[in-house]
Symmetry: C2
Subunit: 430 residues, 2 copies
């Protein structure tokens, strides 16, 4: 499987990894058969955490940014996958319109858009970038780091189609996660392909719904591999809207955190794991790593309550939001002595690359997104050897990224199930 990337963790292969490597043909076949029945999201990135004893996705992004962190060497893979994706969706396509986030002062984000434009241009499409920000009223050329220039143009909406002046796309690629809601200008575009669909945006999407699908898929995957699905599945629960101003505001959160910590403790005991369990509390929709709280003890939540009364911060970010409480997964990976987590990028059903997100100032049980995070692109491993099933664990050069690509694709498949179940236009047979 691809890509054969250098990984930071070069220690011996553990039991889970050994099982995954040995089962490669069965795993790939399983995916092939699943993709006959289910459509993969157009593109996707998955944050992975490898605790050594457990390996889980912790975030599945359906509007991935950061494509600029992939190396030049990975570009051909992304281009080839893009060709496959376009061919399936709209073979007669000539024009593709990319819709970025509205905040386009962030030139690092625009590097990501320029990279996407490059990928789809190299896949053979005319690609232009249209902003749905009402403040963008005329075409603007923006210089971005690395010497590229991006041309941002205002979109033009007709009754049934969205485009630019003199540019009528067959497919519209959203790189805007619609955190601020799905704008009317994107609705009722029945003549064009809008990908990912509107219900993949955060107005409709819920992390807990994704992890519900993931749990279901992980159970079947675990059954095929003969492993406890917990080894790849982070447990979770959820609460409705949080009102920290109410005396009983933390009641649900306290109950759920307590219950989840107990379930993790039980699992740690079962596997003889000598680590302190923790959970992560975050908004059930939304992104960008704001308002993420690591909780090791239910008493930590009381602090949250006191902090909320007066100053903003995590409490402010969670106030009024539905929350998901997720089993915390340690990351065992280090790059340059900083805590690191792999991020896997996919286009259509293909893993096309990845990198490490590193944060020198954060701990192994903390979220690594946000200010101070760095990105270490991964090179292709030079070794031509794959881990050989017949050899002793650790005897052959491990390529952890195969396993990461498998788990990322399990999350991708879960996202496919999730989008099917939340599709407002799905036909239901009763």
């Amino acid at each position: 499987m691809v890509p054969h990337l250098i990984t930071a963790l070069s220690g011996p292969i553990n039991e889970l990894e050994q099982r995954v490597l040995e089962s490669m043909p069965a795993i790939e076949r399983w995916f092939r058969l699943e993709w006959m029945e289910h459509t993969p999201p157009f593109y996707c990135s998955v944050d992975i955490r490898n605790a050594g004893f457990k390996l889980s996705p912790v975030d599945t992004n359906l509007f991935p940014g950061g494509w600029n962190h992939l190396t030049q060497e990975m570009l051909p893979l992304a281009v080839q996958a893009a060709m496959a994706a376009i061919e399936k969706i709209c073979p007669e396509a000539k024009n593709l319109l990319i819709i970025p986030e509205n905040d386009t002062r962030n030139t690092f984000y625009l590097s990501n858009i320029a990279q996407l434009q490059r990928i789809f241009h190299m896949a053979g499409l005319n690609v232009r970038v249209g902003s749905i920000d009402p403040d963008v009223k005329e075409s603007t050329r923006i210089d971005i780091p690395g010497g590229d220039t991006l041309c941002l143009e205002p979109v033009v909406r007709s009754k049934y189609r969205l485009g630019l002046k003199d540019f009528d796309p067959c497919t519209i690629l959203l790189n805007n996660d619609l955190s601020a809601g799905a704008p009317g200008i994107l609705e009722d575009l029945h003549e064009q392909y809008l990908l990912p669909p509107l219900h993949a945006g955060w107005t409709v999407r819920r992390k807990s719904r994704h992890f519900q699908s993931y749990e279901e898929v992980a159970k079947r995957f675990g059954k095929m591999l003969g492993i406890d699905p917990w080894l790849i599945n982070p447990m979770y629960s959820r609460c409705g809207e949080l009102d920290l101003d109410q005396p009983q505001g933390l009641e649900c959160l306290t109950t759920q955190v307590d219950g989840l910590l107990t379930r993790i403790r039980k699992k740690y005991k079962e596997y003889g794991i000598n680590e302190k369990p923790f959970v992560v509390v975050k908004a059930d929709n939304g992104s960008h790593g704001r308002g993420i709280l690591t909780v090791r003890d239910v008493r930590d939540l009381a602090q949250l309550e006191r902090k909320a009364r007066g100053k903003p911060g995590v409490a402010g970010a969670l106030q009024g939001r539905e929350t998901i409480i997720q089993e915390g997964v340690l990351t065992n990976e280090r790059m340059h002595e900083a805590v690191a987590e792999p991020v896997v990028y996919m286009m259509d059903r293909y893993v096309v690359g990845g990198f490490y997100r590193v944060h020198a100032e954060r701990g192994v049980d903390e979220n690594l997104s946000g200010p101070g995070a760095g990105y270490v692109p991964l090179a292709f491993a030079e070794s031509t050897r794959l881990p050989q099933p017949g050899q002793k664990p650790g005897a052959s050069a491990p390529n952890r990224f195969y396993m990461y690509g498998v788990i990322a694709r399990v999350a991708l498949l879960a996202a496919s199930y999730e989008l099917e179940s939340t599709d407002p236009e799905a036909e239901t047979y009763e």
Copy 2:
């Protein structure tokens, strides 16, 4: 388009290349629509010659060897394309059987088989290598250059299926061009996928039939681009079985060579090309660069006749064979001061890599295969810049390999038409 490889020829972009680069979206769309109607050969390599004023395929190999010359960096592309190919043909596949050439004392050839095994293993299949050589009676482990070991096993044929002991493949991948005829052991395998099909072997296949399809496809491609198809199409004619022992044995060849040289001269005059026309005479079926004759003047053929009376060599190799007379295309490419021609590798519809075939002792109008040939693998170009349509020719880094990949895919498409027209099981409607 991919792969973005370093090319030897770094001069300014000429008019044809400029047209190809500008038409990228139209070209890719054209291929997408063609592949909706036609099935690409499973894999293919195409020898390309770039004369500067003209760019042509000169050989389209449907049982490509030399996969070992692709670099490690290209492997992920080949694996991804293999996944796409397998998914389309037999998604429920677990096992793949590779059938190599019978002469397995050539360990460089076996490196090619080991590379194919690696690619399909990484695509998630159990891959084993089965010999149809009756002399291979038991499993043999063979050490090959680079430290790999290949296990060669005797095939086991049942009434309807071919496999190995305890190994029942869904798909059988032929890497044997059947120059010696299609053996009975490969016939009537209606329960399994045999790829490429038997009629792609040299018992049925004719180069002239391929170039007939190529001409047809090149005409349509040229029309789309608004170019004279001759710029990408080598003219050809053919003769029946050559009998050099007869007094009139060279009659057909002389007429055809003379006629073709005249047609080339006319084209050179039309384009103001100051080169000496030449043609290449070779067997209409078969491979391996034996019996290839470069003819600059019809009188060269008389030498062939005299030479034939007594000693073997080119004449011996052509004796009794049907021949194709093909317009010679100079190669303008040099690597390390030796004459070079690019070879493009494809899997399914995707260009997955390439290299230069170089020969220090041969001229620009000679065949570069055969003893003394070397292979220079291509690295991915480091430049992130694509040639920009808006820029002056030569102002941006050219990536000649895009154009080579396009011409190789035109030949791939021609091979698809060719195999459709020669399929003995094709249904005909009258």
